[in-house]
C-alpha cells in the first residue's frame, strides 16, 4: 500500500466538504476530501495537488491522475462552469504530465465571488472512501503546496 500526500492547490482556509454549498461535494458523491476557501487578494495560481497526468482540464476544474491510477479533482469555485472559462488562464494542456505544485490555472477568487458564486475549492479523492483518507489538515489557514490529507492506496 502506498501513501499519497494530496497538497492544497490554493492558499486560503480549510473547510469541511460538508460546508461546501453544493450537494455533490457536500455529500461526497464523487469522493471524500477537503475544501479550501481561497484568499481574496487578487489573482491566485492553482497548483497540481499531486504528481501525474492531467486527464481532465477545464478552465474551472481539473483532474490529475497518478501513475497508479489515483485521480484527484480540484474544482475552482462552485457553479463556475457557467463562467465558460472567462477569468481563468490555463498554464498547461490536457494530457500534460505535472509535478505536485506545478502551476495549472490562474484565476481570481474575489471576481468569482463578485459574480455571485462561491469561490470555495473542493479537492476530491475520486472514488475513494472516507476511510482511505488520513491526516486531514484541521480547519484554519493553509498555503498552496501544504499537505491537505494522505490517501492510502
Amino acid at each position: 500500500m502506498t501513501q499519497l500526500d494530496v497538497l492544497s492547490p490554493v492558499p486560503g482556509r480549510i473547510i469541511e466538504l460538508a460546508e461546501v454549498p453544493d450537494p455533490v461535494f457536500a455529500q461526497a458523491l464523487v469522493g471524500p476530501g477537503l475544501a479550501v476557501d481561497p484568499v481574496r487578494t487578487g489573482p491566485v495560481t492553482a497548483v497540481a495537488p499531486v504528481a501525474g497526468r492531467l486527464v481532465k482540464l477545464h478552465p474551472h476544474a481539473f483532474v490529475v491522475q497518478t501513475d497508479d491510477g489515483a485521480g484527484v479533482l480540484t474544482h475552482l469555485g462552485i457553479d463556475t462552469v457557467q463562467l465558460a472559462g472567462e477569468g481563468f488562464e490555463l498554464h498547461v494542456t490536457e494530457g500534460d504530465e505535472v509535478a505536485a505544485g506545478d502551476a495549472v490555472v490562474t484565476w481570481d477568487p474575489a471576481a468569482v465571488e463578485t459574480s455571485g458564486r462561491s469561490p470555495v475549492v473542493p479537492v476530491i479523492a475520486l472514488e475513494a472512501t472516507a476511510g482511505d483518507l488520513t491526516g486531514q489538515r484541521p480547519a484554519g489557514p493553509v498555503d498552496a503546496g501544504d499537505a491537505l490529507f494522505t490517501w492510502a492506496r
Binding site: 450537494p23 455533490v24 461535494f25 455529500q27 458523491l29 464523487v30 486527464v55 481532465k56 477545464h58 474551472h60 476544474a61 483532474v63 485521480g71 479533482l73 474544482h75 462552469v81 475520486l126 472514488e127
Partner: protein, 76 residues
Amino acid sequence: MDKAEQILAALGGADNIVEIEPCATRLRTEVHDSSKVDEKALKAAGAFGVISSGQVVQVVVGPEADTIATDIEDLM
C-alpha cells in the same frame, strides 16, 4: 447498452431532453417531464447520485461527464 445509452434511456429518452450540459462532475440536464426520469436506472448505469430540482436533473457521473455528454449528444 453502453453507459450513454443507459443514461439517455433513464432520463426518458431523447424526446424528454431539453438540454444536456457537462460539468466537471455531472451532467446538468433539463427535461420536459421529470416523472419520466428513472433515478434507479441512472444509478444502475453508473451514476454516483442524482439531484433533481423541478425540471433540472443533475446526474453525478464524475469527471467522465464531458465524454458521456458527447456520447449522449451523438445518440440524439
